[in-house]
Symmetry: D2
Subunit: 135 residues, 4 copies
Amino acid sequence: MTHVLEMIRTHPGEPPVDEQVLSRCIEACHDCAQSCTSCADACLAEQDAQTLVRCIRLNLDCAEVCATTGNLLTREVEFDSEVARAVVGACAVACRVCGDECERHAQHMEHCRVCAEACRECEQACKDVVASLAA
Amino acid sequence: MTHVLEMIRTHPGEPPVDEQVLSRCIEACHDCAQSCTSCADACLAEQDAQTLVRCIRLNLDCAEVCATTGNLLTREVEFDSEVARAVVGACAVACRVCGDECERHAQHMEHCRVCAEACRECEQACKDVVASLAA
Amino acid sequence: MTHVLEMIRTHPGEPPVDEQVLSRCIEACHDCAQSCTSCADACLAEQDAQTLVRCIRLNLDCAEVCATTGNLLTREVEFDSEVARAVVGACAVACRVCGDECERHAQHMEHCRVCAEACRECEQACKDVVASLAA
Amino acid sequence: MTHVLEMIRTHPGEPPVDEQVLSRCIEACHDCAQSCTSCADACLAEQDAQTLVRCIRLNLDCAEVCATTGNLLTREVEFDSEVARAVVGACAVACRVCGDECERHAQHMEHCRVCAEACRECEQACKDVVASLAA
């Protein structure tokens, strides 16, 4: 559906890691960013929003970190592995902590369940990229 | 592939416009943002990058405007139609101008061809949302 | 305090509008973005956060639109007036609507009073840029 | 000039670290983000842009990481130290690597000299926050 893989394949340079690992992580980052933005908003719309403040806050952090990470991984030119490892590693932390919080509400709030899923996928995709970069 | 529609359906509130029109625009915005970020980078990697400065610049503008628009449309709570019309309308302009520029290079640069496609889809999706909001 | 004016003066190109009008708007955009991000968080920390949902939402929109606008105005290369007018104009709308909402709470919430001030300054700075671009 | 300190002082909560250390870092992050966005554009406007591709790329990464970090540190509610340490630490890395690259061009390009300065200030401010969070 997205143009991620097509953009990687038409780029004149070489991707810094395997194109499947890379495209999966870029897609997961932008999907997680969108899910977290939506989950923060959905939490705010709940009658007991006051009890969801930690979830909203972590969603806002995770959304921005994921978007930034997805963009950094999209750039191939003069790719710097040290910066990438630090940022993608931080993204995995943000996704784990946000995913844990969303999971706590997953039973009675569907948006938290879906968002936790997006966080888990992104956390794993980030770990895969970090592992590839270290190799 | 993305969780956009699932997040809309599990949100406790009502979407401001038809959920298909809305989810298509949110997805198009984030896809266009990613394509433009990639196209700017690919242009920078080309041997004749110096001739692609206008394309790079418009890509950077379009990427940020699309990401911001996709996030604004993701938030349903206390949706403000006036702000939305202004921002989504500006996004349609950014997509049109960037798409026109990418199209000029589409014949000899595949990444510009793909990016122009993403811009066109996003421009149309934004116009559909603006039309729905005006209705 | 910021390096905005120094960066404009060391840029090899010409700014699209008067450098004072431009630097004031770039600074106002980033300051307003930061104030709105802070105000959304402060509202969320209030005991009656539930009554501040509209303020939080508009703060989140305004923060992103201002950041995007400040970045677009920072780029001078191949400046496109049509895109700029649309985006900076949309930013003025976002600042006005968010500033109006913050003002409604300004009497009993100091962060809303300060944020309203940042919104007003940014709205005016955006209007000044749009007027210069139209000239 | 900015409203950062005033927003911290009118926030109903307690800042996660000393308010001077915090406000300095938030201001440094947004200032560095703006300088990097400007430096990337100035590099693109140089006649020998082709030799500045690594500088442009690192500027784009650093700009986004700094903006995200400045926003994360602006949010006080339910502040999560683990996420903050990872993100602010990654920001210090991005600033160091970008500052090193800008410094290489500082002698013949004024915008790189100014941008290197903004990167150094932000790197140090991030380290100060990380040290405070660890305490």
